[in-house]
Symmetry: D2
Subunit: 353 residues, 4 copies
Amino acid sequence: MSNADFIRGLADIGAWGVSFHDDDLMTFGAPESQRRAELDAFKKVLDETGVVCSMATTNLFWHPVFKDGAFTSNDRNVRRYAIQKTLRNIDVAAELGAPTYVLWGGREGVESAASKNPADALSRYKEALDFLCGYVNDKKYEIRFALEPKPNEPRGDTFLPTIGHAMAFINELEFPDMVGLNPEVAHETMAGLSFFQGVAQALWQGKLYHIDLNDQKIGRFDQDLRFGSEGIKDDFMLVRLLENSDYNGPKHFDARPYRNEWGNGIWDFARGCMRTYLALAAKAREFDQDPRVKEALSAASVPELAESTVGSYSTATADRLLNEQFDVAALAARGYANEALDQLVIDRILGIS
Amino acid sequence: MSNADFIRGLADIGAWGVSFHDDDLMTFGAPESQRRAELDAFKKVLDETGVVCSMATTNLFWHPVFKDGAFTSNDRNVRRYAIQKTLRNIDVAAELGAPTYVLWGGREGVESAASKNPADALSRYKEALDFLCGYVNDKKYEIRFALEPKPNEPRGDTFLPTIGHAMAFINELEFPDMVGLNPEVAHETMAGLSFFQGVAQALWQGKLYHIDLNDQKIGRFDQDLRFGSEGIKDDFMLVRLLENSDYNGPKHFDARPYRNEWGNGIWDFARGCMRTYLALAAKAREFDQDPRVKEALSAASVPELAESTVGSYSTATADRLLNEQFDVAALAARGYANEALDQLVIDRILGIS
Amino acid sequence: MSNADFIRGLADIGAWGVSFHDDDLMTFGAPESQRRAELDAFKKVLDETGVVCSMATTNLFWHPVFKDGAFTSNDRNVRRYAIQKTLRNIDVAAELGAPTYVLWGGREGVESAASKNPADALSRYKEALDFLCGYVNDKKYEIRFALEPKPNEPRGDTFLPTIGHAMAFINELEFPDMVGLNPEVAHETMAGLSFFQGVAQALWQGKLYHIDLNDQKIGRFDQDLRFGSEGIKDDFMLVRLLENSDYNGPKHFDARPYRNEWGNGIWDFARGCMRTYLALAAKAREFDQDPRVKEALSAASVPELAESTVGSYSTATADRLLNEQFDVAALAARGYANEALDQLVIDRILGIS
Amino acid sequence: MSNADFIRGLADIGAWGVSFHDDDLMTFGAPESQRRAELDAFKKVLDETGVVCSMATTNLFWHPVFKDGAFTSNDRNVRRYAIQKTLRNIDVAAELGAPTYVLWGGREGVESAASKNPADALSRYKEALDFLCGYVNDKKYEIRFALEPKPNEPRGDTFLPTIGHAMAFINELEFPDMVGLNPEVAHETMAGLSFFQGVAQALWQGKLYHIDLNDQKIGRFDQDLRFGSEGIKDDFMLVRLLENSDYNGPKHFDARPYRNEWGNGIWDFARGCMRTYLALAAKAREFDQDPRVKEALSAASVPELAESTVGSYSTATADRLLNEQFDVAALAARGYANEALDQLVIDRILGIS
């Protein structure tokens, strides 16, 4: 399918934005004049359809030049080429008005642990990020970077494998405020981690810059399933979290139709992603407005977790706490009524009452 | 087995230090006089044997009072009690000279995602940590805290599930320099993540304060197997990393004998942990001194990853890079000779040449 | 809670049957007279409440005598004791009218692969099963055995880890028609296998004798969650399969309340299991009667899979097939419309239209 | 690389046999004359090098015609075409003298569970197998079939996902004695199952017809790593099992070089597979001859597991057993000395003493 047909199709089913990586848009290795023409054609379709360019990224994983990594390839020239390719595409992103630039380090990893000193790899990763931030600052672009963590595939073990590792890494950068996250359902779920909790931590740390919605079974290859087609309960909690948060970036469906799909099936797939998201968002509102839910949250002491435990430290506060008497047996005997609360979640998902 | 017999047994097989949690040492809920006597008895055995107290921790997971969490229980009184219990044991840790205080939040999590607002949970977690740091500063204790991440078990999903999430969280604390990590082989491995890479990132970020060595198969219950009994290659890489690093904290074997073991078997187990660690350390030295390994590392361009890629950003550097011509086809065609390098790792582990 | 209160509570919430293992019912190691009295008390409550005894089993996993296994312990006396304990409880099962006797070999496995010759272990397993079948035949009891597979926990690796391994093993027994399966959602899911497909194969082979319904996340400890609380889509497909099959054994909820639950929470939990099962069964009927579903199944050629491909072998049939011309390109180009069909599954689960 | 160069390269590094699938050998869809020429060229190189054709298989997974399955595609014509393609290649296998014909049903599965009735799928699978066996019998070929199970990838959930499920299925076939297994390290390990135990059960049931050796981490995409490069302990136990068994089929290395490998690296890889296999085989012999190992096996009562527990059933035997008195406390108190035994395994792997 041509890019133009693809964007027109998206517009037809009601999509608001589209993302791209450089090699989707402009032929890899083509002369500048051809790349310019391809880019202009793309911009024209955006204009015609009103679809916005919500995110851009560099393809640093498909071409065999990146088989040992891009920013962390053992070959210095590959690393330099990867940064050059990214700088060039940042110019394109700026021209298209993409506010977020995603970096998925799909090839930044190893099969044999001895094949890279991980400290060197992290230092080179940081060096690349610092350079890219320097460029954006220099050019006065309004662009923020979003790292997309993934535990493995195509590499045996990827650097920055989870939301946590990526956020920890950002703290070591020269411009930590310019770099956040683009977490993806499938990637965090591959490691059996709770995507809901990971996104919640990213929000809590102010680092949710973009999000990739799809679906996945734990502990297997990257499936990129239709959003809402697999982990329905997790997806409900995620949608409720996003809808109740101040996140206002794109809800980006980075998924793929089943491989035995064809023709109209890809639009069934795209519509399904949006349909289920909207249905879950409506259910989240119903859930939060249901008086039985409020009662169940209260029985589970959920609101009490928002109360400060001890406040800021002072010697006096510590003394008071040390002298307090607790009825440990009584505290141990109370229940938390989580089964009833969780059944209300299931009831809402199933639409039964 | 009594604490005294246990420590004497450890001394006999050549252990240097021992760790404790409060309820191991002093009877839970006993009057102060009894606790004092139990503590004095413990100190006496340490003195007699020369075994040092290398780490202390609070048991915030065994007693049913903590069934919904400790620092993040929905019940504010449970949270207050958990902090009180920890403060009391920090005094004991200081008296015993333990330089590191481990916090494993085994109960800080959920089964039902709706049962805690994760942002509230993280805020309460931070509040507790800030308070504990305040106390240590106030008392002028020489103690640092080490968080021990774990993805699940006994809770369905734990907050701060991995090395990464815990390091990211530390950055939000009031005293981030007082808090680091106590990663554990089994915990990171449960999620299928590379413990080697996680520890390397912790070292790179200056956050490896303590380490728990044991073994584990991916994707199952917390096995706490004898160190070196399962992931031999990962263990080799880990030992090499630790031995070549500036980490000088304890190598803490936090493992358990097989459950069908009995009597002398537990000493077979303890000796085995140390025996395999030392054997792998010797093999790591041989590996690093082997000229064939140096050659193979060079063929894989491993040393080249230590070279700066582009240096700090400047407009001139960026311009130069943007104008550089790369022979992409040639860069894509080169191999990285990782199979030969990795076989040398296997050869060294097997002791064949 | 006493057994009597437990059964009365189950009767109150509408449960039809109850299962037991010997040590639940009669005190382990107690004199015969006490065991008789305990058994009579149990029978009396069953009579009063009308709750039937739908299944019986032996506890061969709790007592430390079984720490190395029961039928496959390396100690021959432990193996003999395990068979004796089972024979005795088969008499009880017969007295209580339990038609199915479950054997969960929770301790039949290893941590160290060298600690048992697996061929010997399987031969001892078979020997025990053959003996138990011989006893049941000799006594003319109306009892069938159901093996409950599990991949690990508490052992590192269990023998007969999945539905498949257990069915394959049954084929080697002296009385294969007396032995079938009791698959459990959590156990098969721990290994990331599709429980739905496993149960379907067991039905196809005529081996579904009993079923344990609960819930579980892939790749972690045995969670025994409330049925329908986790893998909602898999649960829907499972309920549809059971309801459309000729399986008429018990739907046995072998689950546990969350561990922070208490008091009435356990009844919330038990009610939830049944509530969600019934809701999914109603949704399965709606799904199968929905004309859009019939159309989507047809578009996906689902009914065509019920048609014979080639029939029985004959030389003539083979010749005809070898001479047939296929339009491979056309066959490759068709789609299977699975996204639309799958979205109808999700729509039915969510109750949207 | 041409087939000729590949076989000559294998001969140079000492390989005994080679396997093929039809599309490797003969161009897909080419006219008969071209296919004949390609086949003759292949036979010539086999003759020249002395390399034997140890196994053949059909490619029923690469071409998009198989995107919904081959023997279990919902499209009856695809199913017929898949059987036709296999029959044709069975003739080639017979001509090349391949004693084993492998069937890996990589596409036989689903992403959406509703898209196939699994009972229909298993019936069609059986129908195909019965037909293939009929053909081999009719032609009087000396060929046995070996099913290769895999839990997922490229499909979301594959039919016959493990060694166990495949063996159970074989029992339902018309000619069960003509069909066995080709288990693969990577496939069983993906599901976290013990490959060692699976192969042991296959041997115990007389169903190990062929074996695919490679390596894999649990719970991730199909890695096909160099044999011996990952699960060293499992690999040691596997090699010991094979070497001590009566299995005399090929040891088939079905692995791939790391994807950043190139040029000579693929021979490093192939040599490494064989080198490590032979090293582990030598270590297995040393292990079994070591008097300390014999002592440790005896302390763990390993030989006692080979002793009959109760023998065949008779009323008299049952009566005797029911009247036997066991000292349960003493049986519970004994240890099984598995830690010492397992450390000897590790010592042998590491080559330390």
